[in-house]
Symmetry: C2
DNA sequence: CCATGAAATGAAAGCGCTTGCAGTCAGGGT
DNA sequence: ACCCTGACTGCAAGCGCTTTCATTTCATGG
């Protein structure tokens, strides 16, 4: 089937017997055009099956109605939720998401940022505070408004919507301390290039320190975020530094890995071992026992980042930093520290 | 800080003492330009911090180097994996992903498709075969190459990369039948607007039918894809049509919901009740017992869709339909049908 | 040292749409 | 009947880059 070239606005104008300018206005500035005229234009549009040429419009208006987002692996459930919410929020306002994801690789992030800015993203969403300096420079220089998500910028240099990972992490650790635990292990995410993982880890350290306790290096293992890595890490901890009565996962999958492995080994949770996570993914509440964790409103973060960006594009000002709530959700995997000796008995 | 307007290519040309045309070629067609000249242009680029204006380039070349994808909820782990893989594949080729996601709403899908086509997507990725007729018409009329993912188009009208959901589902059901199960229940996904869910369900029906068995309506429940809904559905099945010895979930979260609920009620899996899922998400292999399921290579589907689209954009031809393997992964949640009476005993 | 064809460069015409500015036209005031 | 106002509409100049075609430059061979 030989495709006739798609009709342009000038064809519509001709068919409607008006000028190009009027046709344009009839479509994008409807009430600058007499009702009657507008009708003729719309008929012509329908008749020809005209589809506006976004690129040309973008060149003329210097607006693409597109928002760029550079996320770490989108297949991490929490980023997936945020992506979905963000896309929905934007779509409702006639915007579209330009998405790039990387595997915690800052150079890939920089390249992606460049690509999105070049493509004319009207605004950008980044995750966290760890970036190549050029990444923010590119943004700054191009003048594209951006939002940092997940983390909070202490210095107040960036617009951001996130939470205090350290603060939340302290809550978890204190919860455990309050239950009488003194020997605590941590399965942290990979902290390199990941301020969230770092802050979560140091939150535990701080909480312990404030009660005069230490977190020995051998009680900390870093692992990529996944259930399988959580299991492995838990095994390693058991081998390398047994005697702990609670383990904190850098996120829920890691914690769930630890939980499953503990149960597989006949370790009673929470009788002999308490387990806590971070993020509150769906499964956390469904497992028996439910996983004690921090609820991170990831979809809400995505949505809010979108809202703020759209507001800023309309010239409104928004508070520079938006802190989201991140409550501790105490469920069944945490309980009083065992009386006697820690596992192994 | 007063931002000076970003430099254009003509500024670069001037700074390098060459014409606009030469500057353009130095950047996009390097070996049409003498080494020396090219060097001067590159210096100028670096000095001015020039960033190409993608929109203008797109208008001139009629290529945006952008691929549009319209997915059902990206927060479903399997779509998240595909999205990530697709984005990576595209990035490697200098392309970017324009993403829209919807909640199984065909009108939203149509709107999103229009939006992406208007924005000049060079290619499109859709999921499944259920669409508004206009959706495919828009694609057809605009001449944008597209790939249908997940499903296989029997009629061979579309390029697609996916699998036979019915076929895979038959494998699951036969596996159960071979284990001696005769009373089987299904927690299907919502089949409305979702050919995958429909095919999976009818695969079970077919398998039973081929052994002269029926799947009574009361043994089928549709539920949105989530662990919580899986639990609820399982409860309802138990109330409404007890006596089954195996339950098949329309996807893994549903099956996991059933599994957790069964265990919570003291039903032995697989001793008294077998459970099978579909998709093979990470957790399926980690739970004790491991979930029997169909392995759907979702990341690979995303990657392959990207590869095919890129190939077609280069003028190559690819086989119209690409069927991906979807093997049965038999794990611990399925076992021989209980000898005596089905649960409740 | 000059002619000669290939290689490199430049001029200019778009790509399809928006928008500032000027022109048109109908209707109201006098 | 005439001028003025205000609402529409049309003209044409961009938006920033690519690309065709003509022109210039350059290295060779005669």
């Amino acid at each position: 089937m030989p495709r006739t070239p798609s009709p342009r606005l000038v064809d519509v104008a001709r068919a409607a017997g008006v000028s190009l300018a009027t046709a344009s206005r009839a479509l994008s500035e409807p009430d600058m055009v007499r009702e009657n005229t507008r009708g003729r234009v719309q008929e012509a549009v329908a008749m020809l099956g005209y589809v506006p040429h976004g690129t040309a419009r973008a060149l003329a208006t210097r607006r693409t109605r597109t928002i760029g987002a550079v996320f770490p692996p989108v297949d991490n459930p929490i980023f997936a939720g945020a992506t979905h919410a963000l896309a929905q929020e934007l779509a409702a306002a006639g915007y579209t998401l330009l998405l790039a994801s990387h595997d915690y690789d800052l150079d890939a992030e920089l390249a992606a940022t460049r690509a999105l800015v070049e493509r004319g993203a009207d605004g950008m969403v980044l995750v966290g505070l760890d970036h190549r300096p050029e990444t923010l420079a590119v943004l700054e220089r191009s003048g594209v408004p951006y939002e940092i998500t997940w983390s909070l910028d202490g210095a107040g240099n960036h617009h951001c919507v996130g939470l205090s990972h350290r603060g939340a992490s302290i809550k978890v650790a204190q919860h455990l301390l309050d239950l009488g635990h003194r020997e605590i292990a941590v399965i942290a995410g990979i902290t390199n290039n990941n301020d969230r993982a770092r802050e979560r880890l140091s939150g535990v350290r701080d909480a312990l320190a404030s009660r005069g306790l230490k977190l020995p290096a051998k009680r900390v293992i870093e692992a990529p975020f996944s259930v399988a890595r959580g299991r492995e890490a838990f095994v390693k901890l058991l081998e390398r530094a047994p005697g702990f009565t609670a383990v904190i996962g850098g996120n829920d999958p890691l914690a769930i890995g630890a939980l499953l492995e503990a149960r597989a080994r006949g370790i009673d949770v929470p009788g002999e071992m308490s387990v806590a996570g971070f993020d509150d993914i769906e499964l956390a509440g469904e497992l028996p026992p439910g996983l004690t964790t921090i609820r991170v409103p990831s979809a809400e973060i995505g949505r809010e980042a979108g809202r703020r960006l759209l507001a800023r594009l309309e010239g409104k000002t928004v508070p520079r930093v938006r802190e989201m709530p991140a409550p501790l959700i105490a469920r069944g995997t945490t309980g009083p520290a065992p009386k006697g000796k820690a596992w192994p008995r």
